[in-house]
Amino acid sequence: MNPKRKKRLILVLFLVFGVGVAVSLALYALNQNINLFYSPQQMAKGEAPENTRIRAGGMVVEGSVVRDQQSLHVQFDITDYAESVTVEYTGILPDLFREGQGIVAQGSMDASGVFQAVEVLAKHDENYMPPEVAYALEKAGKMPVTPKEAFNK
């Protein structure tokens, strides 16, 4: 390779490498702020700011969903298998909302430690399967579960 091209090659590599380092440092510094939501564990540790609008994410605990018969009010617990948080919400839930499903709720903690949500989004995992397969796996007790890392990264 002639020296001129070599110089330009080094320059290009330096550019890509330099930008890479700069951006990774910035992302590392901003690490916590890039997370879309706080996990119940982080909220229990007090890492989530109080009295501000935040998002909380976790799995809806089986058997915890209490629906009000007269209104759209619903109460449920979300967990990351370490800690859990009670969420209250009034409104229409997404179709995918069910017990054992991942969700991300936006809202804030009230004084009694209940998360008052104004928006609930469903978070599904990367496993897709036909209904028959899901039924068979369910029966065999081999349904893939969302790992707890999905909510604590």
């Binding site: 890509v16 997370n35 997404p94 995918l96 989004l121 469903a122 599904h124 399967m129 036909p130």
Partner: protein
């Protein structure tokens, strides 16, 4: 240029606009047929014959458009950056033209990935758009494409424009690993990858095969549109050379 014994001759010939025009002219119909076949088979298979998902029902089928376009938008960006780098280092005109031809194609595919993602997001997540790391970094990819296109459009001097745009696309290259790993590094609403080259896909084969066909079809379609734009650009930039004049008068 010293011809190495490892690299075939046609590869060197690609660097010459005239040869590149000829070679892509021969490849074009092959890829056109492959793209048409794969996309047709893939679409019918994916939309009519692949089984529905146990949770999402039929709405998950939009994945067969969303995933290939998202993969392709990133591949196209990498090609654009590498072609730009080759143009910067070796001063090969055809490489600059490839980078130039990639930008608008990549931008449209990125728009498609974002749009299909939004349409998928509404019924499943309950929201068209969320500012999570995956969605935001994908939006930045679109802006990078638009920036590269704007740089090409802003400068009349083609060499200068190619230099500036290549530097921008190389700077933006850092975004590609961020898009890929965003779902693993941070808490996001977007689910992790279902489909990757290295791991076993987390879906059964009757759902996975049509997706593979669609991905291959998208790549062939990309090759076709890239070659069409590239040939057009070669003719435009080489319009004063003898072979282009001959080509035009011979028609």
């Amino acid at each position: 240029m010293a011809v190495s014994k490892w690299i075939p001759r046609w590869f060197y010939q690609l660097a010459s606009p005239r040869w590149c025009y000829d070679i892509t002219g021969k490849l074009l119909p092959v890829f056109l047929v492959a793209a048409a076949l794969l996309l047709l088979v893939g679409l019918v298979w994916a939309l009519a014959f692949a089984p529905p998902d146990y949770q999402q029902g039929n709405s998950f089928r939009i994945m067969y458009i969303h995933v290939p376009s998202a993969i392709l938008a990133q591949s196209c960006y990498m090609l654009m950056a590498v072609a730009g780098a080759v143009g910067l280092i070796w001063k090969i005109k055809v490489a600059d033209m490839v980078a130039f031809a990639c930008a608008p194609i990549g931008a449209s595919i990125a728009v498609m990935a974002l749009a299909t993602g939004a349409i998928w997001g509404k019924p499943t997540w309950g929201s068209w758009w969320v500012w999570d790391a995956r969605l935001t970094s994908m939006l930045i990819l679109l802006f990078l494409y638009l920036g590269v296109m704007a740089l090409y459009a802003a400068m009349d001097n083609e060499t200068m424009a190619a230099k500036a745009a290549s530097v921008l696309s190389l700077v933006g290259l850092v975004n590609i690993p961020i898009i890929k790993y965003s779902v693993e590094w941070w808490n996001t609403l977007h689910q992790p990858a279902t489909f990757s080259l290295t791991e076993k896909p987390s879906m059964p084969i009757e759902m996975w095969l049509p997706l593979l066909v669609m991905v291959l079809g998208f790549y062939c379609f990309f090759a076709v549109s890239l070659m069409l734009r590239l040939r057009n650009e070669i003719i435009r930039r080489e319009r004063r050379s003898g072979w282009v004049r001959e080509l035009i008068t011979s028609r």
